[in-house]
């Protein structure tokens, strides 16, 4: 019993780590640019398939390093050409655009790579279980969590200590005043978008090694990531972090006791949080106004 429990909590934490990576990227883009990026799951898929394509040439480690920045460059182009013209408009426009984009990416991937799942080979030593007792914890799972922890730590350091990060946080509150202090806010939005997409690309590579690749895999991770943002509180990145882990573990635990509800539980959690504390766990009042 305890092994099953441990298995599912670990599983939940790992899934939660994915939600966190995805949700932080979504949150960055939403907070600064008011864009609800429905194509975020699509960028995860792009990151995964880039890794799949380049792994035979440069190996898993090379792909892990290169796929996220390549995904970010594609994101930058998308922002520049498609999303930028919509900034002045109602957020509904960019929502519809990215919604359509998500379908295009999914079908495009299916067209190029086929509907079947593709495996990405991970280094053999990472595929080993850690012990016979804890057969379910492979080195790769621990490795994924470590990468997520490092990525999140770097993101928070960037936001806390660099001028770029400080300007992004300032822009979240008052973009006009940031512009009036001489900062090119279009550029700021582009860089911020690229950082968010970088995180999506990274999730894609990590997910590819764990789950294999499918064109539809982005959609499955997108909804829980949105819920992580809402549970944590819109506008708060620490809240997003907590929200992602929380719903990951909650769905992992529910899988032990009531497997059928393991997916529904995150929606229940969102409903409960919204009823008790409408601004989310860490959210500040009036963040969206």
């Amino acid at each position: 019993m305890w092994q099953l429990l441990l298995f599912n909590v670990t599983n939940g934490l790992i899934i939660g780590a994915f939600y966190v990576l995805m949700a932080l990227g979504l949150s960055l883009i939403l907070n600064l640019s008011n864009v609800i990026n429905f194509a975020h799951g699509g960028f995860l898929v792009i990151g995964g398939y880039i890794a799949y394509t380049i792994t035979p040439y440069i190996g898993f480690w090379g792909a892990l390093l290169l796929a996220p920045p390549l995904t970010a460059i594609i994101g930058l182009a998308v922002e520049r050409v498609l999303i930028r013209p919509l900034y002045g408009r109602d957020p509904l426009y960019s929502l519809l655009l990215t919604f359509g984009l998500a379908f295009m990416i999914e079908d495009g991937t299916r067209f190029i790579f086929g509907p079947q799942g593709k495996p990405v080979t991970i280094p053999a030593f990472l595929a080993q279980p850690l012990s016979n007792e804890l057969f379910f914890i492979t080195g790769y799972r621990l490795f994924m969590v470590a990468v997520v922890v490092i990525a999140v730590a770097l993101l928070f350091l960037l936001l806390r200590y660099t001028r770029l990060g400080i300007r992004i946080r300032a822009g979240t509150l008052d973009l006009d005043t940031v512009a009036a202090l001489g900062i090119n806010v279009q550029m700021l939005r582009s860089l911020n978008f690229a950082v968010g997409i970088f995180l999506a690309g990274l999730s894609g590579v990590l997910a590819a090694g764990q789950l294999g690749l499918e064109p539809t895999m982005g959609t499955g991770l997108l909804m829980p990531s949105f819920i992580a943002i809402i549970v944590g509180g819109i506008g708060s990145l620490p809240g997003t972090l907590a929200g992602g882990l929380l719903i990951g573990v909650a769905s992992g635990l529910t899988a032990v006791f009531f497997p059928a509800a393991s997916e529904a539980v995150i929606y229940v959690m969102m409903a409960v949080v919204l009823l008790l504390r409408p601004r989310g766990l860490f959210g500040e009042e009036g963040m969206m106004s």
């Binding site: 001028r163 400080i166 300007r167 946080r169 300032a170 979240t172 509150l173 008052d174 006009d176 005043t177 940031v178 512009a179 009036a180 202090l181 001489g182 900062i183 090119n184 806010v185 279009q186």
Partner: protein
């Protein structure tokens, strides 16, 4: 006399309402120019148009010889225009020190250390969040933030608003000091009397139209006009 800034025939709208009806003004280099007028006269709108925040639909803006009429806000600021907005617009979620790291780093004499020398109070509170500051501290932070851009022209929108008389004195003293540093100043104020004391030139705006332009001295001498501009509250300021 060269002009730091010239605006000619600005027409600005908020949606369908026509706010500025052909505003023209000029800020002489190295001087303080006061832009006065009652509430709702269009003073803030004029400044927002100059900064490109609410672009004028018609008219021409020249700043240091360049036509900035169609420039985006950041470019106007980056050309050396410091802007202290109405209500200070401090980033409430950032610390004092972080607020000072937002502006573009233009070449010039102003550094964060020098801002702390000018406003020692800010150094004491450098780790405090913007939202924890008093009105006076917020005003200092807003001015310090604009100075870090190393501006050649400083635009201030009602810096005395909501501040205690002693702090208002301090703010006006700083504005004079900026002039002494060679910075041209455009000062929007409700506090007509004190503005005219430190200003070289003045404009009065009413319903989006310039109704007076001339020297500050001449306007200050017109007691009836100043009284009308200032309202009763200004009488108290001059006593301190």
């Amino acid at each position: 006399m060269t002009a730091a800034l010239t605006a000619e025939g600005l027409h600005t709208y908020y949606g369908k309402s026509h706010i500025l009806h052909g505003v023209s003004l000029s800020v002489a280099e190295g001087k303080i120019t006061a832009l006065l007028g009652r509430n709702g006269a269009g003073k803030t709108t004029t400044l927002r148009s100059l900064m490109g925040l609410t672009p004028a639909r018609e008219g021409r803006i020249t700043i240091f010889g360049e036509d900035t009429s169609r420039w985006p806000t950041f470019r106007v600021a980056a050309s050396g225009v410091g802007y202290v907005p109405e209500g200070r617009r401090i980033f409430a979620n950032l610390s004092v020190e972080e607020n000072l790291k937002v502006p573009l780093e233009r070449e010039g004499p102003w550094t964060i250390e020098r801002i702390y020398q000018l406003f020692p109070r800010l150094e004491e509170r450098k780790s405090n969040r913007g939202r924890q500051l008093s009105g006076g501290e917020q005003e200092m932070l807003s001015i310090g933030r604009a100075l870090l851009l190393n501006p050649r022209l400083l635009i201030l929108d009602e810096p005395s608003q909501g501040l205690a008389p002693l702090i208002v004195r301090e703010v006006f003293r700083i504005v004079q000091q900026m002039k002494a540093e060679g910075i041209s100043v455009l000062l929007v104020e409700q506090n007509a009397r004190m503005s005219l004391e430190i200003a070289d030139n003045a404009y009065v705006l009413d319903d989006g139209i310039v109704v007076y332009s001339g020297t500050a001295k001449e306007l200050a001498a017109d007691e009836g006009r100043v009284r009308a501009l200032a309202g009763a509250s200004a009488e108290e300021w001059t006593l301190t």
